[in-house]
Amino acid sequence: MLNPADLAAIWLTCKLATTTTVLLLLIGTPIAWWLARTRSWWKGPVGAVVALPIVLPPTVLGFYLLLLMGPDGAVGRFTEWAGVGLLPFTFWGLVLASVFYSMPFVVQPIQNAFEAIGERPLEAAATLRAAPLDAFFSVAVPLARPGFITATILGFAHTVGEFGVVLMIGGNIPDKTRVVSVLIYDHVEALEYGQAHWLAGGMVAFSFLVLLALYAFTGRKTR
């Protein structure tokens, strides 16, 4: 059965995934909006950077984040200067890493939704006296709702499933950075297969249910 350390890891994982998803929706929505509408030369490079975590091994991301957030890295220097200290081995360090790592899973569905909406409803909104920001919130966001739901589910699930990056910058500290995926790895490595099964099985069930919900939802939308 699950022991208190397992439960703490589950709680921490939920906290991490929720924080990351909320932040990603806040950061990713303007990025998605820009990507969906810009004709700038920068669209390609920015889109590619956002998509990088899809193709890069998490260890690459984790390694560079460790360097960047370390005392000699740009981010590390900034956080020390800002008085928040260094981010590796902290909860907020994991949040920052997860934001990068799960970014494409949030940005892309929203971007696709915005692209599908196109210019037309926004033009209609403008002729009905809606200023651009007003039109964004009252027309574009509600119309992109399926994209936001997909983004939320994928962002959350992908953060829960994150392992390589956390391993690289987490430090396996209880209640701070010891998330479920790392704990499973520990159990397996320590040959505690029984413990591992409880968590790993739970993870499989969770992921399955999340994807089932997602497909049920998108299936209903397209019907």
Binding site: F63, L66, L67, M69, G70, P71, D72, G76, G85, L86, P88, F89, L167, M168, I169, G171, N172, I173, Y185, D186, V188, E189, A190, L191
Partner: protein, 248 residues
């Protein structure tokens, strides 16, 4: 003289052509650098080729139990080879300690770690990197040493746990942890420290970190496997091993 050399070379070539063989070796991550050097010598001297895979001993154990094609295991501990032997997955009587690891408290910053380990008592650091004691023998040894020094309770809240000794090194080398416990072999080359500052822990502070080698079931009766273990005991290999800070 030249003729002799040519003849010798010819002989070596002929030998390798007729008897050259491969051996699949699973090597504990901390032994990566010496193993590569020994494998190069091994090929030159015997004509056999050692195909090396590096990784965590626990992972190798799981893989070996599930049919991985390794013929020899150079473990990071002495428990895993013993366990494999007991379970019939290794050839009985082939087990021996090829190296004894030394634990070192290390920092990437020069002058940070004093040669008495006083830095631990002062406790002016935020993060102390340690390999997960449940998974890595070096982590276990570090726990034992801290217990002996009666410092465990004081420093434990500042632990950052790495999954293995290589990752502990990474945490410290990038400066994210000010200091931590690593294997001497990681920071020591040709009789001196490569960089930073270090305190080699007295061996009496913890159980010796014995790293055992064993021939696995898949290597049973393979000449190249036996040759590799024999070579590992040889003087040339021993010189390499000690040059990396291991004891024998």
């Amino acid at each position: 003289m030249r003729l002799t050399a040519t003849a010798l070379l010819c002989l070596v070539c002929c030998t390798s052509a007729t008897h050259a063989d491969e051996v699949q070796v699973a090597v504990a991550a901390n032994f990566t650098a010496p193993a590569k050097q020994i494998a190069a010598d091994f090929e030159k001297d015997t004509g056999h080729q050692a195909m090396l895979s590096f990784g965590a001993t626990g992972k190798f154990y799981a893989q070996i139990r599930n049919g991985a094609p390794f013929e020899v295991l150079l473990a990071a501990d002495d428990e895993t080879p013993a366990r494999l032997e007991k379970e019939g997955a290794a050839v009985a009587g082939t087990r021996f300690t090829y190296a004894t690891g030394r634990l070192v408290l290390w920092s990437a910053k020069p002058g940070y770690v004093d040669d008495q380990g006083e830095v631990l008592k002062k406790g002016e650091f935020k993060h102390l990197a340690i390999a997960n004691p449940r998974l890595a023998s070096y982590g276990m040894a570090a726990m034992e040493a801290l217990t002996t020094l009666k410092l465990l309770d004081a420093v434990q809240p500042r632990f950052v746990q790495a999954e293995n000794i290589a990752q502990a090194y990474q945490f410290i080398a990038t400066g994210n942890a000010e200091l931590g416990f690593v294997a001497l072999s990681q920071v020591f080359k040709d009789g001196k420290f490569v960089e930073g500052s270090a305190w080699v822990l007295p061996a009496k502070l913890h159980q010796p970190i014995r790293q055992d080698a064993v021939i696995l079931d898949k290597g049973r009766g393979k000449p190249a496997a036996a040759a590799w273990l024999k070579y590992l005991r040889g003087d040339r290999a021993k010189a390499v091993i000690t040059s990396f800070g291991y004891e024998l």
